[in-house]
C-alpha cells in the first residue's frame, strides 16, 4: 500500500516537472533568449559607441537614441498643435471676413510646416505600398502566363534575367525624367516625387514575384492538370480553380521577397532623389550635421527595420487568410 502511494506521488511529481520544463522551455525560447540577445547587443553597442568619435561628436549609444526618439515624438505633437492652431486661425479669419462681406469666397490654405518624422514614415509607407501593388498587379498575371505557356516564358525570360539584377539607383534618373516628361498636369493628383519613388519601387518589386509565380505555376502536380483536362475546364476556370490555389504559396513567397526589396529600394531612392520619406529624413539629418543627427539617424534605422519586419508579418497574415493549407508552417 505504502509503496503504491509513494509511486503515484512520484509519478505526479514527474508529470508536474515535465509540464514545468515544457513551460520553461517556451518561456526560454520566446522571451528569455531573445532578451539576452538584445541585452548583449545593447551592451556591445554602448561600449563601441563610447569609443567612436566622429566629426559630429560621439557615436550615439542606446541612451542617446532613446532620448532622440522622445524628441522626435514631441516634435511631432508640437508640429501638430501648430498646424491645428494655423487652421483654427484661418477659420476664424475667414468667418470674420465672411461676416463683413457675404460674397467672399473662403480659401483654405494648407499648412506648410516642416514634415515631422512621423509624416515621413507615413509618406514612405504609402509610397512603398503603391509601388508594390502596381508591381504585383503586373507580376502575378505575367508570372501565371509564363508558368502556363512555354513560348511566353521563352520570350519573357531573357528580359527577366536582364532586368532582375539592375539596381534601383540606375533606374531612378530615367524614371525621374520620364515622369517629368509624361506626367504634365495643371492640377496633379499625385506629386511627381511620389510617382518617381513609387515607380522605382515597382521596377524592383516586379522580379521576385514574377519569377516565383512562374515557378509555382509551372510546378503544378501533373495529376491535377489531368483532372482539369478530363473535366475540360475552360482556360479561365483552369486558372481560377486549379492554378491559383496550388501556386498561392509560391506567389506569396515572391510577394514577400518583393515587398522586402521594395522597402529597401524606397529608402535608397528617397535619399538619392530627395523625395519625401524616411530616406530624405536620414539624408537631411546627415546634411544638418548637428550633434543630435547621428542619434536621429539611428532612430530612423531602427524604425526602418521594425517597419520592414511588420510588413513581412503582414504579408504572412494575409497568406494565412488566403492559403487553403492552414496547417502549413509559415515562416
Amino acid at each position: 500500500m505504502l509503496k503504491t502511494a509513494n509511486l503515484s506521488k512520484v509519478t505526479v511529481l514527474e508529470i508536474k516537472t515535465a509540464v514545468n520544463t515544457d513551460f520553461a522551455k517556451k518561456i526560454n525560447n520566446l522571451l528569455l533568449l531573445p532578451l539576452i540577445g538584445l541585452a548583449v547587443f545593447m551592451f556591445l553597442w554602448h561600449v563601441a559607441a563610447k569609443n567612436i568619435d566622429t566629426s559630429l561628436g560621439q557615436f550615439p549609444g542606446p541612451a542617446q537614441v532613446l532620448e532622440q526618439a522622445h524628441t522626435l515624438v514631441d516634435a511631432h505633437f508640437v508640429e501638430r498643435e501648430k498646424a491645428d492652431a494655423f487652421y483654427l486661425r484661418q477659420e476664424e479669419r475667414n468667418a470674420a471676413r465672411l461676416a463683413q462681406d457675404p460674397t467672399y469666397e473662403a480659401k483654405i490654405r494648407p499648412y506648410t510646416g516642416k514634415p515631422t518624422f512621423f509624416d515621413q514614415i507615413w509618406t514612405s509607407l504609402y509610397t512603398v505600398m503603391v509601388g508594390f501593388i502596381i508591381a504585383s498587379l503586373i507580376a502575378v498575371p505575367l508570372g501565371i502566363l509564363c508558368g502556363l505557356s512555354q513560348p511566353a516564358y521563352a520570350a519573357i525570360n531573357p528580359l527577366i534575367q536582364l532586368f532582375k539584377p539592375v539596381s534601383p539607383l540606375a533606374w531612378l534618373p530615367l524614371v525621374t525624367m520620364v515622369v517629368s516628361a509624361l506626367y504634365v498636369s495643371d492640377d496633379p493628383l499625385f506629386s511627381k516625387s511620389f510617382l518617381t519613388s513609387a515607380f522605382t519601387v515597382s521596377l524592383c518589386c516586379l522580379w521576385p514575384t514574377l519569377v516565383n509565380t512562374a515557378v509555382g505555376v509551372s510546378g503544378i502536380n501533373q495529376d491535377l492538370l489531368n483532372v482539369s483536362k478530363v473535366l475540360t475546364l475552360s482556360k479561365w476556370s483552369h486558372i481560377r480553380k486549379i492554378v491559383l490555389p496550388s501556386s498561392i504559396p509560391m506567389i506569396f513567397t515572391g510577394l514577400r521577397l518583393s515587398l522586402g526589396i521594395g522597402w529597401m529600394v524606397l529608402i535608397a531612392a528617397e535619399m538619392l532623389a530627395q523625395n519625401p520619406g524616411l530616406g530624405k529624413f536620414v539624408w537631411d539629418e546627415f546634411q544638418n550635421g548637428s550633434s543630435d543627427s547621428l542619434a536621429r539617424i539611428m532612430v530612423a534605422v531602427l524604425v526602418i527595420g521594425m517597419i520592414g519586419f511588420i510588413l513581412d508579418r503582414l504579408m504572412l497574415t494575409i497568406q494565412g487568410y488566403v492559403s487553403w493549407d492552414k496547417s502549413a508552417v509559415l515562416r
Partner: protein, 284 residues
C-alpha cells in the same frame, strides 16, 4: 455479351511512339480491343508494359501515333468528361472539400442542364453511392486514403461517364480497405451498368471484378497478349469464390500468363548461378 452493342468502344491497331533523345521509343503496338457497353475490363501486365498508356489514350490524355479509338463511332482525340478517370492517387484538389471536389465536376458537366437544387441532390447522391456523405465537408487531408479514393470515384461517377477509366484505383490502399472498395465498386457497377476499364496489378482483383481480363505483353512495343473471359455468375462473393475451382482456374490462367509466358524477372536461383559463373570467369 450480345453483338449489337459489341462496338461501344473500339481500339484499332493502336500504337504510340514517344520521342526520346535516342530516337522514337515504341511503347505500344497494334493494340486491338472491342469493348461492349456495361462490360468490366481489367488490364493486367507487368510494370512498364504500357497499361497506363492505353488508358491515357482512351482518356484522350495521350494521342495514339498509329491507329485510333472509336467511342460510339466517334473518334477520341481529346479528353472529355464522358470518359471519366479515377486516378491512382485520387488527385482530389486539396483545397476543396469532398463535396466541392464532386461539385466542380458536376458544375462542369451539367451546367445549364440542372438547376442548383438538382445539382446538390446529384452530388449528394453520388457521395452516398460511395458511402461518403458523412465526410462531405472534410478536405482530402482530413480523410484516409480509402476515403479519398471513394471521393475520387464519386467525382468520376458524378460526370455520368460513358466509360469509367480507373488507373490502379486501389493500388495504394491496404488489403482490407481495398477489399471493401472492391465490393463497393461491384455494387455500383451492378446498379449503374457503367462500362469500366481498370488497370490493376492484383490478380485476385482482376478475376473478382472483371468480365474480361486483358493481359498485356512486356514492353517495348507492348500489345494485347491474351484475353481471358471470366464467366463467373454475378453478384460475386469473395468468400464463396475462394473455394470454387473455376475461380482458381481463372486465377491460375492469369498467373501463368504473367509468370511463365511473360516472365520479367529471372528466378533468383538462376541469377545466382550466372553470377557465380561470371565470378569464376574473372578469377580464371
Amino acid at each position: 455479351m450480345n453483338t449489337l452493342t459489341d462496338k461501344h468502344l473500339e481500339l484499332t491497331q493502336v500504337g504510340i511512339e514517344f520521342p526520346t533523345p535516342k530516337g522514337p521509343f515504341c511503347a505500344l503496338k497494334e493494340v486491338n480491343l472491342k469493348i461492349a457497353k456495361g462490360e468490366f475490363i481489367s488490364l493486367i501486365g507487368h510494370s512498364g508494359c504500357g497499361k497506363s498508356t492505353v488508358l491515357n489514350i482512351v482518356a484522350g490524355l495521350h494521342q495514339a501515333t498509329q491507329g485510333g479509338v472509336l467511342l460510339d463511332n466517334k473518334e477520341v482525340n481529346q479528353p472529355g468528361p464522358e470518359r471519366a478517370v479515377v486516378f491512382q492517387n485520387h488527385s482530389l484538389l486539396p483545397w476543396l472539400t469532398a463535396y466541392q471536389n464532386v461539385e466542380l465536376a458536376v458544375k462542369q458537366v451539367f451546367q445549364g442542364k440542372m438547376n442548383k437544387a438538382e445539382m446538390k441532390d446529384w452530388i449528394n447522391h453520388n457521395l452516398e453511392l460511395v458511402h461518403m456523405t458523412h465526410a462531405a465537408d472534410k478536405r482530402p487531408d482530413e480523410i484516409s486514403g480509402g476515403m479519398k479514393q471513394r471521393v475520387g470515384i464519386a467525382r468520376a461517377l458524378a460526370m455520368q461517364p460513358k466509360i469509367l477509366l480507373m488507373d490502379e484505383p486501389f493500388g495504394a490502399l491496404d488489403a482490407l480497405t481495398r477489399a471493401h472498395l472492391q465490393d463497393s465498386l461491384m455494387e455500383i457497377h451492378a446498379d449503374l451498368g457503367n462500362t469500366v476499364i481498370m488497370i490493376t496489378h492484383d490478380v485476385d482483383e482482376a478475376v473478382l471484378l472483371s468480365d474480361r481480363i486483358v493481359m498485356m505483353t512486356n514492353g517495348p512495343s507492348a500489345t494485347v497478349g491474351e484475353i481471358l473471359n471470366v464467366d463467373l455468375a454475378r453478384p460475386r462473393d469473395r468468400l464463396a469464390l475462394a473455394d470454387q475451382p473455376e475461380y482458381n482456374h481463372y486465377r491460375h490462367q492469369v498467373l501463368k500468363f504473367l509468370y511463365e509466358k511473360q516472365r520479367k524477372i529471372e528466378p533468383v536461383s538462376a541469377k545466382k548461378k550466372s553470377q557465380l559463373k561470371s565470378g569464376d570467369n574473372q578469377v580464371a
